[in-house]
């Protein structure tokens, strides 16, 4: 049984101000870079203090999970932002040319994180299916074609990541459950992304109807599937049982949409429910999703509760 995180962590307020100052031209890139590094160190410290086993850098440099990548891949262009709901917007990219690998996407972040911690590291990258689903397609004849082209680009990044020492990659694909009819395309894309990459692969999905992607999702060529369970009152564990789930399980058991801090007992209870489905060695306990929208102290407390719960369960089952 291991503890981990999905990816993002609240950004320190001072970092947001420094990013703003950089955009206004008040400070240079060197100062900004130093700020990012300090922010990563503070995230690492929080994760270490909480006792999380497998960590990431909190995505301090990523403003958004689509555009961060598309800005670094040839063939994408961003004309502006579009609304998702209410007053929330995101810079929706357009595919305007052939998608090609241009520069590293997560390698520098990985290397820096490696230099400041001895912890195991997981590298989360938004998957090809989700990035294309959240983009306009002006260039490819079909969505499918665009997804496969992007999968090749990400495959190259993953190969490079392994070369520099990464061994655990998480493909974030929240768009998959929103289009169950295209699950074959998503599956083929995963096949391409992991091709020839000697790493442990997880796939993370949130917000969607899991019922619609079972049992097809079980055929994806990954070692682990990470679901959100807390947000859905752990009801989906039923699906895993029903279909004889046999991969490693990323077990989202902390609600990232609520500021209420879970009790150790309720998290323990949830973990025992998961252990009813998979053996301890197949269980990766984590929050439902990235924690970036929570206040920093709340996120930290939630992580501590999660680790405490895991430790108590470990003791109780003699792991």
């Amino acid at each position: 049984m291991k503890t981990t995180v999905v990816g993002s962590y609240p950004k320190p307020k001072w970092l947001l101000r420094i990013v703003e100052m950089y955009k206004e031209g008040k400070i240079d890139g060197k100062v900004l870079d130093e700020a990012y590094k300090d922010a990563v160190k503070s995230v690492v410290k929080d994760h270490e203090l909480a006792g999380v086993d497998i960590i990431w850098d909190g995505e301090m440099r990523r403003e958004e999970m689509t555009s961060y990548f598309t800005e670094r891949i040839d063939g994408f262009k961003i004309y502006g932002e579009v609304r998702v709901w209410g007053n929330a917007y995101y810079p929706k990219p357009s595919i305007v040319g052939e998608l090609r690998y241009r520069e590293e996407l997560a390698i520098n972040d990985f290397l820096y994180l490696r230099s400041v911690t001895d912890k195991e590291i997981k590298v989360p990258v938004t998957g090809a299916y989700t990035i294309v689903d959240w983009s306009f397609n002006e260039y490819y004849k079909s969505k499918e074609e665009a997804v496969y082209a992007l999968a090749e680009v990400l495959n190259k990044e993953f190969r490079e990541l392994v070369k520099v020492g990464a061994n655990y990659i998480q493909i974030d694909e929240p768009a998959i459950p929103t289009h169950p009819d295209e699950i074959e395309v998503a599956k083929n894309a995963v096949e391409t992304m992991v091709k020839g990459v000697n790493a442990y692969f997880g796939i993370h999905m949130c917000y969607g109807n899991y019922e619609a992607i079972f049992p097809d999702i079980l055929d994806f060529n990954v070692d682990q599937i990470d679901f959100e369970f807390a947000n859905r009152r752990f009801e989906d564990l039923r699906l895993l049982k029903e279909y004889g789930y046999d991969k490693d399980l990323g077990f989202g058991c902390i609600d990232v949409h609520s500021r209420r801090i879970e009790t150790v007992d309720e998290v323990k209870k949830a973990i025992y429910m998961a252990l009813d489905v998979v053996e301890p060695k197949r269980l990766y306990v984590d929050p439902d999703c990235g924690m970036k929208l929570l206040p920093r102290d709340v996120a930290f407390e939630k992580l501590k509760v999660m680790v405490r719960a895991v430790n108590e369960v470990r003791e109780e089952i003699g792991e």
């Binding site: 961003i78 004309y79 502006g80 932002e81 579009v82 609304r83 998702v84 709901w85 209410g86 007053n87 929330a88 917007y89 929706k92 357009s94 689903d133 959240w134 306009f136 397609n137 002006e138 768009a175 929103t178 289009h179």
Partner: protein
């Protein structure tokens, strides 16, 4: 045959207005705070001006405060409570799902933003919805769906009457959910829509996101003056509809409102000619197939320009 350039409904908010809303309303689910009327007026007049400059003849107010797309209508009626976020058709857009908790009633103006726009610009159409609002809401109050539909229908009709008395010439009813209707509901819907369309203003039915095969020919008895079809998503099927059934006035949704790709004008012209030569139309509105809020603002503007350029080349 008369051709009129128009748009479907929503339009990207001006950046400054977006920032203003974010400041006064925040990012959470409890939106709908009172916003200053003169600020809203300034934003609306900017959007109207943009439509005018692009060559749009019948405009909309841009639905700048419609946080929940068509479900905004529910948020402005008594009887509904807005709850968690739900995906809006096949789009990466979310609305708060309206839950019916009490008898649905119109207690005040629904289209208060339209009123501001109408004060500035008369070549304007009001946009409402009825069936789609019932279908995308969760009913926890009415025992019979019919009663829910009729109460909503009554509220919408009240609004339409008030619009008529203001001198509004065009009222558009957006009904994307009609494209997925269960045939057993059609008789009930016919009565409700005949009630809605029994009014002096010209009524336009707008459908989008799919083809309209399921509602033909029954829809022709619903009393609409104009029928709007999506020729981006449902081109082949809707072309067959035009060939098979005869109606006088059509809204041809032909420019893709959900992709930043700019269509070739020659291709659009060819497509348009194939559509209109398959029917016998007196009046043809041309527009994007959907509202333009799916696009970044710069592209939304270019799409409107494309609609008016199309009008130029086909005349």
């Amino acid at each position: 045959m008369k051709v009129i350039a128009t748009v479907v409904g929503n339009y990207p908010r001006p950046r400054w207005f977006r920032e203003y809303l974010r400041k006064v309303e925040g990012l959470q689910k409890d939106l709908d705070v009172e916003i200053e009327k003169d600020v809203l007026r300034r934003a609306i007049s900017e959007v109207l001006d943009e439509q005018r400059r692009a060559g749009i003849e019948i405009m909309t107010d841009g639905q700048l405060t419609w946080h929940d797309f068509l479900l905004t209508i529910a948020s402005r009626l008594e009887g509904f409570e807005m709850d968690g976020l739900v995906r809006y058709f096949e789009n990466n857009l979310y609305y708060r799902i309206p839950i019916v908790k009490d008898k649905v009633r119109r207690v005040g103006k629904i289209l208060h933003d339209f009123e501001i726009a109408f004060d500035i610009e008369r070549n304007l159409k009001a946009v409402l919805s009825c069936y789609t609002v019932t279908k995308l809401s969760k009913n926890e109050f009415y025992k019979r769906y019919d009663d829910f539909l009729w109460d909503l229908c009554k509220s919408i009709k009240e609004e339409m009457k008030e619009l008529e008395s203001m001198g509004v010439r065009y009222v558009q009813i957006d009904e994307p959910s009609l494209l997925y209707v269960d045939k057993s509901e059609i008789e009930l819907l016919k009565d409700a829509f005949r009630e809605l369309t029994d009014i002096g203003s010209e009524t336009i039915l707008m459908t989008y996101f799919d083809s309209a095969e399921k509602i033909f020919p029954e829809i022709l008895d619903f009393g609409f003056d104009v029928i709007g079809l999506d020729f981006v998503e449902g081109y082949e099927e809707n072309l067959n509809i035009v060939k098979e059934f005869s109606f006088e006035n059509i809204n041809v949704g032909i420019v893709d409102g959900r992709n930043t790709k700019m269509e070739d004008l020659g291709d659009l012209k060819e497509k348009f000619e194939r559509i209109v030569s398959s029917g016998n139309f007196k009046k043809v509105f041309i527009s994007p197939n959907t509202g333009l809020e799916f696009l970044p603002r710069v592209k939304a503007y270019e799409k409107m320009q494309l609609v008016s350029k199309l009008k130029e080349v086909i005349e």
